[in-house]
């Protein structure tokens, strides 16, 4: 896997949103939404970005899409740096990275027919015209398994799952290499969710797509992904391939997340790590390790020194994590 050229490289990405307040609307502080995130995605690979609400997963996705300028860091697409491109030169890059959003209801313009929704990116990049365009749209409808006669309809005539298929067709339309699925299946009910997840992985096999799968649903992630990055308060705390991460997670936060996944077996023995308290505010992130306020294994060093991503000791290659402990105890210390 390491030999394939990287499609997307994200290097020390930071996005701080200024907070406005006061009488004159000056900047009173920053939300440190994403604070130094590094990862890469190879062609045809799925990387999942998991974490609690508000940990900055979606901001990473939107930063890559350049929906807003980033604060610091670099984004490379196929060996070309794209985060600082002026709008004119950015456009050709946009063709290659597309997005599927969470809410199937607000991600489609209610006043556009399905045909126009799917045709828009094709027209934007001048990829097809006239009858060729219609053929292309029909082909995309087939790809996402929607009946062709749905083209003339409006989004409100469809169910959530069908709309998400329209969204996927739109994302595929310009012949993209990378699709950012921003909680793309989170709003769907379980059976529809499974259909969409399967559709995505079928499309990946068929078209060699890379996926950045942003989700908080670990069960879905385990089903679809090649590698997983776990985020906490704007930073990646652990990154590994699927098998390693789900079988031998290292970071206490990852273990807490995994232990929260319901297991459909009442007899299964479980070591649950229950986290107390809320995620601290990204406006005033904790000093040292950002997880120390909720970590059951935290010690003095965690409060002052921020752990850097490093290879997890005794694990497979490519397994990195950010924790001071080389060995995290299995059991939570009782008397704390």
């Amino acid at each position: 896997m390491n030999r394939t050229p990287k499609l997307l490289e994200v290097n020390a990405l930071k996005k701080h949103f200024p907070l406005h307040g006061g009488l004159l609307g000056g900047t009173t502080g920053y939300v440190y939404a994403v604070d130094g995130v590094t990862f890469d995605i190879a062609k045809g690979e799925t990387l999942s970005l998991v974490g609690e609400s508000g940990c900055g997963k979606s901001t990473v996705g939107k930063s890559i899409l350049r929906l807003f300028p980033i604060t610091d860091g670099e984004v490379w697409l196929d060996g070309e740096r794209v985060d600082n491109l002026p709008p004119r030169q950015l456009r050709p890059m946009r063709r290659r990275v597309q997005v599927v959003f969470q809410d199937p209801f607000s991600s489609l313009n209610p006043r556009q027919r399905v045909r126009d929704v799917i045709a828009e990116p094709i027209l934007n990049f001048g990829l097809a015209h006239g009858s060729e365009l219609d053929d292309r749209v029909a082909e995309l409808m087939d790809k996402v398994r929607l009946p062709r006669d749905a083209m003339r309809r409006f989004p409100h005539e469809f169910s959530g799952g069908q709309r998400q298929r329209i969204g996927i067709a739109r994302a595929l339309a310009p012949g993209s290499d990378l699709i950012i699925c921003d909680e793309a299946v989170s709003a769907l009910d379980v059976s529809v969710k499974a259909q969409i997840v399967n559709l995505l992985s079928d499309l990946q096999d068929e078209l060699g797509l890379a996926l950045l799968f942003i989700s908080h649903d670990l069960a879905v992630v385990e089903h679809i992904t090649h590698r997983v990055a776990v985020m906490y308060l704007g930073k990646i705390v652990e990154l590994a391939d699927r098998r390693t991460l789900f079988s031998t997670p290292h970071h206490p936060y990852t273990r807490a997340l995994l232990s929260a996944v319901p297991v459909p077996d009442p007899k299964a023995e479980r070591h649950r790590i229950i986290l107390h308290g809320d995620v601290p505010s990204p406006i005033h992130p904790p000093s040292g390790c950002r997880f120390h306020t909720r970590c059951p294994f935290a010690f003095d060093r965690c409060r002052v020194e921020e752990p850097q991503l490093r290879a997890a000791p005794g694990s497979s290659a490519g397994h990195v994590m950010a924790c001071h402990l080389d060995q995290v105890p299995r059991e939570v210390p009782q008397a704390a």
Binding site: L65, S107, F125, E157, A194, V197, N198, P262
Partner: protein
């Protein structure tokens, strides 16, 4: 197909069902509108009647609304007895039923004046609604998209909105001569801040919509985003707002005329008729009564239409499978 793969905990791999689209209901368009939005249909019908009255005023048994007849001043409208004696007399035209709404203190036919007054009210209402919608739309779009101008524009609009719109219109009229055109301009200026605020708000919320972000991500340029994604979705609230402005403008026009700051007295507008009849209100109430009733009915019609439009133009509510 990965559907057949063993499922993982938490995922139920349902078989791919055939995608069933709900059948479309086909019904006559007019029938559908009446059936789903009775208020809108009623308001529209009422407004159509008023518009027809304005257009066909010369053929609806009217006389010259400005013709003076000092000999027949303040004739009351015919009462039931007058009508009965008219019918039993075999349809000849005795003077008692000649003036349906009576005559005013200069002997002018109130019926003719009210009918011709419809034209003034409708022209002012529609023109103000149209121009304030267009101007407000442009200002709203600019301040929604050009962030550095937004604060400046909105403070100006706030300033204008802090003056009651009728006072602003009166002040503006005081600067110029009374004419229908100036009335339209004055009321439009007074209504624009509200529209531009509405459009700005809608634009700001639309800009955050995932479908706009998806359009940006798929390379749509800003002008096309405005035309394809923003404008069509502001049109519905704007149309609704325009109908309410139309009603408000007709009332404003009547108020301006009533206090003598609107259309010149020679033009028979409803406000002018009421202003002239005001002095005789206690003895000859009908001079004020008829234009007032017509104003109320017209405003009601426009408001009903606006209410119905608000329901009808929301595509989510319009679904109703």
């Amino acid at each position: 197909m990965s559907t057949s793969e063993p499922s993982v905990a938490g995922i139920v791999a349902a078989p791919d069902l055939p995608e069933v689209l709900p059948p479309r209901k086909e019904r006559g368009r007019v029938g559908t509108v009446v059936y789903r939005h009775p208020t809108m249909a009623f308001g529209g019908l009422l407004l159509a009647l008023v518009v027809a009255m304005a257009i066909f005023a010369p053929w609806l048994g009217t006389v010259d609304p400005t013709a003076l007849a000092p000999a027949r001043r303040t004739r009351p409208p015919p009462d039931l007895i007058a009508w009965l004696s008219y019918w039993f007399a075999g349809g000849r035209h005795p003077p008692a039923v000649q003036y349906w709404f009576g005559t005013d203190m200069l002997g002018r036919d109130v019926y003719s004046r009210v009918l011709y007054g419809t034209r003034v009210s409708l022209i002012v209402g529609f023109a103000v609604a149209f121009f304030s919608a267009v101007v407000g739309m442009v200002i709203g779009l600019v301040s929604g998209f050009v962030r550095w101008l937004d604060a400046v524009i909105m403070r100006i609009m706030d300033g204008m909105m802090s003056i009651p719109s009728i006072l602003l219109a009166i002040a503006l009229m005081a600067l110029t001569r009374g004419s229908v055109r100036n009335v339209i301009i004055a009321i439009t200026i007074a209504e624009v801040p509200r529209v531009s605020r509405l459009v700005r708000g809608v634009v700001l919320s639309l800009r955050e919509q995932p479908y706009v972000e998806a359009a940006i991500a798929s390379g749509t340029r800003t002008p096309k985003i405005i035309i394809k994604h923003i404008l069509p979705n502001t049109l519905a609230p704007l149309t609704v707002q325009a109908t309410f402005i139309c009603a408000a403008a007709m009332i404003s026009e009547a108020i301006l005329s009533f206090i003598g700051a609107g259309t010149p007295p020679i033009i028979p507008s409803w406000g002018n008729i009421m202003a002239e009849g005001r002095a005789l209100w206690q003895v000859k109430p009908y001079i004020v009564f008829f234009p007032a009733v017509f104003l109320s009915i017209t405003v009601l019609a426009v408001n009903l239409l606006g209410d119905g439009l608000r329901d009808a133009l929301d595509p989510r509510l319009a679904k109703r499978i």
